[in-house]
Symmetry: C2
DNA sequence: CTCATGCAGTTGACGCATCAACTCTAGGCT
DNA sequence: AGCCTAGAGTTGATGCGTCAACTGCATGAG
């Protein structure tokens, strides 16, 4: 069943262009975030997730779910961000050793100042460059792909 | 000039879906390469570049150019691959201390066995899931994006 | 009670990726 | 000659990301 035929040069080229474009865009956004606000894309994602939780503490599992990241990745990321002073882990010994995570004042400040700028960058570098047809195609492709891979017994969620 | 307006929830959602889909796909391909052939995507890229050079030794700068990677990244990658026995660095003291890099027999074997399988995975996970319109949109977007970012005084090349 | 099983989270090792600082060589200038 | 600069390549530090192995607690079976 596995189609083992090689790709045409033209297909290799499209594949190469696609992955290169993605990388360039991600890099661009990442660098801007770093330059303008001193935080990384990964940090921004976590800050946003906690920000959206509106003060409520989130557990590693919830963050993992909402970000679509592995728990281990979340844990490592929180460790780094705790070192930087962006988040605090509260060890509520109440009903077990469950740990909640919440933003510190510094974390709140960082996300507040970054969010508008980052959104603007995404708009300029992504949304503003898309024709409606391209946007539709990308939306469709993204949904297909997520559906296909995630439900195919491959990933946690 | 910077458009500082935030994104609509709908836009955030598209953005999130798109980045998530990319990550899932890349992960899927990476894992398959690792599982089936014991090499990583980065290793595959370097092996392919050297393979295409058809036996000729490449210098770090040439690899850097052809892969679109930073020289430092290439250097680190070659160090790891040298450790694994996939490439050999020849220190031609002839006209300076320029170092060429070439595939070892093991490296040749690895790329030969991986290439068809990897191409098949890309076909199944990417090309086979695209409608012609989607393929066109993705091609156009990729080219636009590469052009826009690379020529905008942002990246080496 | 005691052990197995399972779930939440952490940790260590390692590869990937970037940045800044460094070395080595060559070539040009005075 | 002596020096300066530029380019090629390397190195170390650090963050990101995955995997496998681990800890601690809870629950259910014997």
């Amino acid at each position: 069943m596995t189609e083992t035929r090689d790709l045409d040069p033209e297909e290799w080229e499209l594949w190469g262009a696609w992955t290169r474009a993605q990388r360039l865009l991600a890099q661009e956004l990442d660098r801007a975030l770093q330059r303008d606000f001193g935080i990384s894309k990964a940090e921004f994602s976590v800050l946003m997730a906690l920000w959206r939780a509106a003060g409520r503490e989130l557990r590693v599992g919830e963050l993992s779910e909402s970000l679509g990241w592995e728990k281990s990745r979340v844990s490592h990321q929180l460790t780094r961000m705790e070192r930087r002073g962006f988040v605090a882990r509260t060890e509520s010994g109440a009903y077990g050793r469950r740990t909640g995570t919440k933003l510190t004042a510094e974390g709140r400040g960082a996300v507040q100042s970054a969010i508008t700028g980052h959104a603007g960058n995404i708009r300029r570098h992504f949304f503003d460059t898309l024709t409606p047809q391209q946007a539709d195609a990308i939306r469709a492709w993204s949904e297909q792909t997520i559906e296909r891979i995630e439900s195919h017994g491959d990933v946690s969620a």
